[in-house]
């Protein structure tokens, strides 16, 4: 049973604050260029399924978008625990990024991040980073820790789903490693 997620006001506040701070936000995204399907093109060598492709794009976006938040931690953190958490998240993120990017390219997915700018579970948006950069002291630590924890849990949930429903073996193996690394952080 998936419970209905009703984002509490607290979760929307950074977003709303971000909107105020950054004005209108990013300009309208250019449409993803449609790769012309051609019957003469060689069949892809690897068997990426719909779940594999969605998982790769989503986890890649989550990993790339958490980095700017990790970058502001040293200058803003109040306590040592958030510093420690941020550093451990950075280690596991950087470790998996090269393989994620390689799988992404091999699958022929568009270069553009399809999720940029969207509020999504576990995703750090540019607005989140702006809103959190405006905080200080324990307030900063609490907000960043909650955001990182949310990302860790979401990455673990998504890795479990990829393990159950994915098709491409190396993608599933990467999901298994991500599940292990995130379980180690929680």
């Amino acid at each position: 049973m998936v419970s209905v997620s009703l984002p509490p006001l607290a979760r929307l506040l950074p977003f709303l604050l971000g909107v105020l701070l950054t004005g209108c936000g990013s300009a309208a995204a250019a449409p993803v260029p449609a790769p012309a399907p051609s019957s003469s093109a060689p069949a892809p060598a690897a068997s990426f399924g719909g779940t594999d492709l969605a998982w790769i794009e989503l986890v890649l976006a989550m990993d790339e978008q958490v980095l700017p938040l990790l970058d502001i931690v040293p200058a803003h953190a109040h306590g040592a625990s958030v510093q420690d958490l941020a550093s451990r998240v950075r280690t596991v993120t950087l470790a998996e990024l090269p393989e994620l990017r390689a799988l992404h390219d091999e699958a022929g997915l568009p270069a553009e991040n399809p999720h940029e700018g969207m509020p999504m579970p576990g995703m750090v948006t540019a607005r989140d980073v702006t809103a959190m950069a405006a905080l200080s002291g324990e307030e900063f630590d609490t907000a960043v820790t909650a955001k990182l924890r949310e990302g860790i849990e979401q990455a673990a949930d998504l890795a479990r789903s990829e393990g159950l429903y994915g098709a491409e073996p190396r993608t599933k193996a990467l999901a298994a490693r991500i599940l292990t690394s995130r379980t180690g952080l929680s």
């Binding site: 998936v2 309208a28 449409p31 790769p35 399907p37 060598a45 949930d157």
Partner: protein
Amino acid sequence: MRRGMFLILIGAAAAVLLAAVGVYIATDPGTAASVASPLLPSSPSLSPSVEPSVQPSVESSAKPSASPSAVTKLAPAKGSWVAVDAAAWKAELALFDAVQPKTVPAGTTMVPEFHTDCEVTGRAPDDPIVFPNLPGASHLHTFFGQDVDAHTTTAELRTRKGTCDAKGDRSAYWAPTLLHNGKPVAMKGFRAYYGAKIEDSSTVKPFPPGLMMVVGDPKKQVATPAGASGQFWCAGSAETGRSKDGNWPKCAKGGNLIYQLTFEDCWDGKHIDSPDHKSHMGPAVNGECTGKYPVAIPSVSLMLGYDSLGGDGLALSSGMASSIHGDFMNGWDPAKLSALVKVCINAHAKCGTTPSFTGG
């Protein structure tokens, strides 16, 4: 009132963007109000459960290779370009061709149209088109017509009855949830209008089997001040002002906030899904489906009616008002859809929820 609404609609949405169907709706006495179909349950305890036993349904046209190690970097993988089942499509076209048109009696409103009203089936952070088999991956969606979770497939929709009142419509429709101070806003009604914007409505064919499509851009986070395109608007009452941020209308009492989402109506004839879930669909050129998108299919407009008068405190689960988007999974019974397309749309005549005519 009607005239006022018409002007507001034209002004707000720059008319050009609105389908003939949409303009018709706004000028049709009582139609905007009738969008409010049976009042929807306001209880949020409607989440579809995720059954772990659901068969994994990896939809992909990618072919497994004999030697995965011999991977070379390729131009676009075909992984999420999903080819239409050519035999099934041929069979559906044969079924469609066999339908006899009906004589349109005098007094029938000559607008190519039928509709289906669907109830809310639940809300969940799932999206089986964008995140197949990844429960919880998405922002919150409100689903209409069918119980949907991350594992739902078009094949499965055909096997179960939904909540749409046009017989044979077992499709699933969804959109981001509208939130007021972070809490979901109840729907006042949901109607999908099926029509034709192209010049010759007699060329419209039914949907191909398994069609999935997305309209709108959830990444788009831009201001939508009065006069901007892509507006939420007031149905059944006048707009009396704007929210403090300018992005939402304020509606006078008696009406409600509404959004009309219109999908592309020309299909590439080959794929039922594409990497961005849009590129297999495209617009008409000079009123005709041609070029890359040669097959005319019904123009679907979702009328999302909210139990809200607009104003402050609103946001979509996907962000700003500009991030509104809609998803469609075809679950139509081919015979029923064929009859509606042939009798109503091809004859350029107005029907309700069945292949019979309405006038006035």
